[in-house]
């Protein structure tokens, strides 16, 4: 399996803080790679640096063999990278429909894709003409993910999609992400919910203090409780 995304020696500074301290990682094509780590380890910074929202101070980032570390965010998005931020960042003043119209950058909304999305998230159909700001937290997260998958993307960067959501909504999100995975999407997923991580992940990267401290298969980490405790401070079971 070839690597769709590769980071080599990536450093990122935010102001005077040195957040990413030489990240080396690879995200294989068609697989879900989990990015785990304690709070403040640099997971969100990694996604934002890949997306160009924060500029890497040094190092190389390549997408399908093309160097992108100097590209502007819109250019990276146009290369087929979808981004779901931790804050969801739906446009509150716009309706659900308008949010998706904007996300479908190059043309009208595809009805087949829309029906597929409504299959997972029926609430989006129900609130089609409602302002996104009036949605619940879970519905906003659904909209945020729907926005990222309304058009085919080469790579999805998703930051803690289950954070703060009710268990029923978490299950729906997991089912949706599994279906996206079955369709062959490549996903780099930051997640603190280890049940979700175990369900979805093919590979795992663990970060600490701005560096990758572990890489391997998700199943192997899920089965190794001492390793979990060493890397994450707690076992996966304790995090559920």
């Amino acid at each position: 399996m070839s690597d769709l995304l590769k980071l080599s020696g990536v450093h990122t500074h935010i102001g005077r803080y040195h957040i990413l301290q030489g990240i080396d990682l690879a995200v294989p094509q068609g697989q879900v790679t989990m990015l785990l780590g304690r709070n403040g380890a640099g997971k969100t910074t990694t996604l934002r640096t890949i997306m160009g929202l924060w500029q890497a101070s040094s190092g190389e980032i390549s997408l399908a063999g093309m160097r992108i570390e100097s590209c502007a965010t819109p250019d990276i998005a146009r290369l087929g990278v979808g981004y779901v931020p931790e804050s969801m960042a739906v446009f509150s003043d716009l309706t659900v429909k308008e949010n998706l119209v904007l996300a479908a950058r190059d043309g009208p909304l595809d009805d087949t894709q829309l029906d597929w999305i409504f299959g997972f998230f029926p609430a989006l159909r129900r609130f089609w003409l409602s302002r996104a700001g009036s949605l619940s937290g879970g519905q906003k997260q659904m909209l945020s993910i729907a926005r990222a998958i309304i058009e085919p993307r080469k790579l999805l960067l998703i930051d803690e999609p289950t954070k703060g959501l009710a268990p029923a909504i978490v299950m729906a999100l997991i089912e949706c992400l599994k279906e996206i995975k079955r369709k062959g999407a490549t996903i780099l997923l930051v997640e603190q919910n280890f049940f979700a991580a175990r369900e979805l992940g093919d590979n795992v990267l663990v970060m600490d203090n701005g560096t990758i401290v572990h890489r391997g298969e998700m199943a192997a980490l899920a089965a190794d409780v001492p390793l979990q405790e060493r890397l994450l401070g707690l076992s996966l079971e304790a995090h559920q």
Binding site: P74, A77, V101, P122, R126, S130, A172
Partner: protein
Amino acid sequence: MTDLAATDPLPKPKRDIAPVLLPIALALLTIPLIGSTSSWLTLTAASLAMGMMIFIMASGLTLVFGLMDVLNFGHGAFIAVGAYVATLVLAPFAASIQADSLWMNLAVLAPAALLSMAVSGALGLVVERVLILPVYGQHLKQILMTTGGLIVAEQTLYALWGPQIIPMPLPASLRGSFILGDVAIAKYRVLAMLIGLAVFIAIQLVLNRTKLGLLIRAGVENREMVEALGYRIRRLFLGVFMTGSALAGLGGVMWALYREQVHASMSDDLTVLIFIVVIIGGLGSIGGCFIGAILVAMVANYGGFLVPKLALVSNILLMVAILMWRPRGLYAVTSR
């Protein structure tokens, strides 16, 4: 997750109409205070006309604030430049302006207004590239740069046109009033209301019915996410800045005709009103800006008639009252 059938009716979005009712309530409240119906109607018409002109000048600034997070203290320069540029067309064609033919008057006025908008818009391009671009995200520097730009613009106007006040008489066909019973409504005020309303409708159509408008509304709320969706928001910034500058130029022409004079510091007093309108409307909100402009004009006109001594502080009091009710303005669009 709510499990809802696909055939369920779509709920209608809730509309926040409380701010819309404010100017209506204010107008109705002043009827018994003013006493005379004809005076009230005259003051109301004056308020609406003044409000529309302020709205035209403020609409660009509110989008610049909301979308670009730029504190442009030099917005008044576009107003003055617009007014001065209009004199370049109106002065040579003074005979046509004073002819008693609406069409001849408009044949000169329209090109003058269009030229003013074009020059103000082009000046906006230069200001954005030279003054604003290096200081994006740095509010203190933006204030210094744009205030400096305003001073340079004013002094340049003095150098080119001289320090004297330039008269800008109203076209002959726009002088006088429409008489309805014992109520007189100045013709020019009616024209100002119509132009203001047309600008408001045009902006609303663009913002609500086009993808460009969606982008502007989304960009006002979260610029970063718009970029993450693949849109180059810098170009949008520039387009909005130029449009806002052009509208300020149009407002400058209309205000100069309203006052029948042009001078380089004509925007000084207006700038305070415009900032109040932008703040009470809610940064980035065109609807809020529209209602805010009418409110400010009503308070100035009704207040000036009822309690002249309060005229100087009436708009500040209005701003305080509205921000106590809604701290982020009538319609909060951004989280700033």
